[in-house]
């Protein structure tokens, strides 16, 4: 009979290989499901790899998609450090996109000042949107998971309202789109691809968040609260203000992701600017563990799956939501692998 015993220390070997094994098992399981749905999984995976990594343009598209993932992933992960769940990065991204678009369309600012104000407005809009749930959590202990999640639906409906209504391009043949931003308010792109300066901003923020978490008092206090709220209280750390502050920062990062999507990718505000980035961000943050660098690495891996998944829409007429299947499966296997990191099998003879 096989029993499981707790390991004294987490297995180093398992810890190192678990994320890769989880992705591998998830891909195998997804392959079985695809077979069952009458899709050739080998062709599907070959297509995914070819589209996302097989060409210069493919790689650039992967980096384009990794940009919002890095930003929302950073946001979710700093909240995680305090054991706060921000499931609303998607909505915060939309609100950030709205903030940036408002500046671009109605402020009259131009050039680099305009872009800087757009970035700032996006961060504030996303931050305030997340701050609401931070405030409710801090002051009334309202479950932040449910509030952040429900606010996604509200934010998406709000942006739809704007692009169908007051912000609609009058000369846009009634399509739900705002007018194009003036060209000097659109981020420049590299080497004839869609890769925009937002990617550089995301990389810079990885470094900034790393320094913030590891080298500042604020970052230290956040980690103390996350690890031991009682000790934090005795040490005189104001937990309520930290919750609101961290939620604001978390949302601000997601808001900047929204800025990148409208100013870098679309050049205008429209529906569907997020391909569920805010949800993928949860996987990014969970897989990355405690590190900002980890967020960067996992974001790129997730972007490969997103770009590959998108290409299946064209190659095999698969729905976009199909990538959710991969994401769910990867998380399932990560959770299962945690068990084997913490426990080891012991074979015992049954009976005596």
């Amino acid at each position: 009979m096989i029993r499981f015993e707790k390991r004294k220390d987490a297995s180093k070997l398992f810890t190192a290989v678990a994320p890769f094994m989880s992705v591998l098992f998830a891909l195998l399981t997804a392959a079985l499901i695809m077979l069952f749905a009458g899709i050739n999984p080998i062709a599907a995976y070959a297509g995914m790899i070819k589209e996302s990594l097989g060409s210069f343009y493919g790689v650039s598209e992967t980096l384009v998609k990794s940009t919002p993932l890095i930003l929302t992933g950073l946001g979710v992960s700093i909240a995680f450090r305090m054991k706060i769940w921000n499931i609303g990065a998607d909505g915060q991204l939309y609100m950030g996109a709205m903030g940036a678009s408002y500046v671009a369309l109605y402020s009259g600012l131009t050039g680099i000042t305009g872009i800087a104000v757009m970035l700032f407005a996006a961060a504030v809009a996303g931050g305030l949107w997340a701050g609401v749930s931070g405030f409710l959590k801090a002051k009334a202990n309202v479950n932040e998971i449910i509030v952040t999640l429900l606010m996604n639906y509200i934010a998406i409906a709000w942006v739809s309202y704007l692009v169908y209504g007051p912000w609609k391009d009058p000369s846009g043949f009634n399509f739900p789109l705002t007018p194009r931003f003036s060209p000097d308010l659109v981020l420049s792109t590299f080497f004839n691809t869609r890769l925009h300066t937002g990617f550089i901003i995301a990389l810079a923020l990885v470094a900034i968040v790393y320094i913030f978490m590891e080298k500042t008092v604020w970052g230290y206090e956040i980690k103390v609260i996350g690890n031991n709220p009682k000790a934090a209280k005795y040490a005189g750390i104001s937990i309520d203000r930290k919750i609101i502050g961290v939620m604001f920062l978390s949302g601000a990062l997601a808001g900047i992701a929204g800025f990148g999507e409208v100013a870098g990718v679309q050049g205008r505000l429209q529906e569907g600017i997020s391909h569920g980035y805010g949800y993928t961000a949860i996987i990014v943050a969970w897989l990355a563990g405690r590190s900002a660098i980890g967020v960067l690495v996992v974001s790129v891996i997730m972007a490969v799956i997103l770009v590959g998944g998108d290409s299946l829409q064209i190659l095999m007429q698969l729905p976009v939501a199909f990538v959710n299947l991969f994401q769910g499966l990867i998380l399932f296997f990560i959770l299962a692998s945690d068990f084997f990191i913490q426990n080891r099998p012991v074979i015992k003879r049954s009976g005596k």
């Binding site: 429900l150 409906a157 169908y164 949860i282 939501a321 990538v323 299947l325 769910g328 399932f332 959770l335």
Partner: protein, 306 residues
């Protein structure tokens, strides 16, 4: 007018009622399940697919229950036996549900079926105002109301119900007194997931008898919020579900009557309302003794027992 609105209220509230009852059952055992949205989608698609292929609504309902149960088993296994993080597992279940139904749902888009039809209960349906709303509905509505009563009896009048509650409150003590914590929790997750699946099936078999991708539109999340509003109590769950059904009904009515308000703004109402209700419910909880199961969201490991 009031009669029409009440009728629509009950109909719109029923999928939420099934899902909320399922979530209550799971949470009472100490397992939180954020995968309700995914389970509802699995139920909606399987129910529709089975009913469409076999021409039997009953088979649709049965298939929805068991398919959601199977999907929920993943969550149960991870949370109960592998002691994994319940929040992450639930979120994964929602992603899994969205993904797998989008894949298998492709071949069912664009079809409709003859959904559940009304069954009028004589005499009672003649009661003014509420008669038509409550007693001239389809059988699933009646089933959901019976389920509310059954769950109340189960929790407060049966030994198994008492054991289940004790597993959610203090699994260590329950274990000591010989209750199989894992078995109770797993069973609660299985049946609860099945009920969430029925909520989805109500959407695709009665409410709007067709399948579209992501047709639950966040109802699973509203159900999770309603559990807190209902204070883990099945009768209060009914009040909560119909409250939201009411908002939905009013919103749809306003759209149908051609109000000048944007449909996108009206669409926000149920979510705004859920947040407001959640805040009020939480504030009320803080004051008195909390009905939240003590061990909610925590894995039980016998080795950690104190």
């Amino acid at each position: 007018m009031i009669e029409i609105l009440l009728f629509a209220t009950i109909k719109a509230g029923t999928p939420l009622l099934f899902a909320t009852l399922g979530a209550i059952l799971m949470e009472r055992s100490g397992v939180i399940n954020l995968g309700v949205e995914g389970l509802m989608l699995v139920g909606a698609l399987t129910g529709f697919a089975a009913a469409h292929t076999t021409d039997s609504l009953l088979l649709g309902v049965v298939a929805a229950f068991f398919a959601a149960m199977a999907a929920g088993a993943i969550h149960g296994f991870i949370c109960v036996y592998l002691r994994g993080n319940q929040i992450v597992s639930g979120l994964s279940l929602t992603m899994f549900g969205i993904g797998i139904t989008s894949l298998f749902g492709r071949s069912f888009v664009g079809f409709t079926i003859a959904g559940f039809s009304k069954v009028e209960i004589p005499v009672l349906s003649k009661i003014p105002y509420i008669g038509q709303a409550l007693f001239n509905q389809d059988v699933l509505v009646y089933a959901s109301i019976l389920l509310v009563v059954a769950m109340h009896i189960f929790f407060y009048r049966t030994k198994t119900g008492l054991y289940l509650r004790s597993v959610g409150e203090n699994p260590g003590a329950a274990d000591t007194s010989g209750i199989n914590v894992g078995l109770y929790r797993m069973s609660a997750v299985l049946v609860g997931s099945g009920l969430a699946g029925l909520g989805g099936a109500y959407l695709s078999l009665a409410y709007t008898p067709f399948w579209v991708e992501n047709m639950t539109a966040g109802r699973g999340w509203i159900a999770v919020a309603l559990v807190i509003f209902a204070q883990w109590n099945s009768t209060r769950a009914m009040a909560g579900a119909y409250l939201f059904g009411g908002i939905n009904a009013v919103q749809l009515r306003m759209q149908a009557m051609g109000t000048s308000l944007s449909p996108h703004l009206l669409m926000m109402l149920p979510y705004l309302f859920t947040i407001a209700v959640l805040v009020i419910a939480t504030l009320r909880l803080e004051k008195g003794s909390t009905p939240e199961p003590e061990a909610l969201g925590t894995a039980y490991d016998r080795e950690d027992r104190k």
